[in-house]
């Protein structure tokens, strides 16, 4: 018997590191369009976030896909050499379909989201 509900996938850092930026964005859009919620262990860079928004906008069809909900913490600089060379590490991020996932509250320590009942696949 198939269990009905919302699929939440935790995507590991190693999986994300295997993908180029454009592959990462295509993967996210593809999964989110299927109705999945993704939790990325390693979030997107600022450039990737902007590219994801652009790709989302060009993918919206207004009947079945109205966009994404995305919440993550800003990139952080870690360690002396990272700071020296301006290297930032992206952080955990949650992404899902906008008709399914809604952010209730976020601050610099907690991101609280809800899954809208009855919208899962």
């Amino acid at each position: 018997m198939k269990v009905k509900g919302v699929t939440v996938d935790l995507i590991s850092r190693s999986k994300l590191e295997e993908l180029t930026s454009s592959e990462k964005i295509d993967f996210i859009i593809g999964e989110v369009k299927k109705g999945k919620i993704l939790i990325l262990e390693m979030g997107l860079t600022a450039d990737e976030q902007a590219d994801l928004i652009k790709k989302t906008m060009s993918t919206i069809d207004h009947d079945t896909f109205i966009g994404i909900e995305m919440e993550g913490y800003p990139e952080e600089k870690v360690g002396f050499f990272h700071r020296l060379f301006g290297i930032r590490r992206s952080r955990i991020t949650v992404i899902g379909p906008a008709n399914l996932l809604k952010t209730i509250r976020r601050d610099d320590q907690v991101i609280e989201t809800i899954i809208i009942p009855g919208k899962g696949v």
């Binding site: 600022a46 652009k54 989302t56 800003p74």
Partner: protein
Amino acid sequence: MGLLDRFRFSSLGRFLEKIFGRRHARIGIYGPPNVGKTTLANRIARDWSGEIVGSVSDIPHETRRARAKSNIRIENGNSSLIMDIVDTPGITTKVDFRDFLNYGLDEEEARRRAKEATEGVIEAIRWLDDVDGVLLVMDSTQDPFTQVNVTILGNLEARNLPVIIAANKIDLEEASPATLKSAFPQHPVVPVSALTGHNMDMLYSKMIEHFGKKRRRRSK
């Protein structure tokens, strides 16, 4: 490209800019939908050129194409800055035509507006490659920790673009510009009301100081 633009992008122009700081800057007005970007663009343009940039509305995504007003000279004492201001469409991660039906639009009009809004978001992000600085407008009555604000700021920091956060709508009772200041302590935050013009002098002073600075832009 006009004569002034040719000079700006010439080797001599860039050399003089490095020595003396920027005197002519292209400033993008960015932010989520309905925070008052066009109201602010109109306020700046009206104060210094007597003209406006575009129409405003309570319906989100009223601005769906970027609009520019060139050669606006703002002054503060002996300092001045000549700006081209670019009023950009609101950036968002979702657009649902059904939201516009609540504002009395019929379905056909709502769908058209939604489609244009998605195109506007793409155009706004593309403009980031062509501005020298950004006025990031936030609604000081709303929670500032939104992903759109974080994404825009992250992109500006990655490009080393100067940014001023305009904490707008301080004319409203529930406004809390102090929340914005504590949320983004690494950036200058100026509380303003684009609607009433309150505190615009402080914003102009900060714009001349901040956007006129010598700065090396990082390529994307």
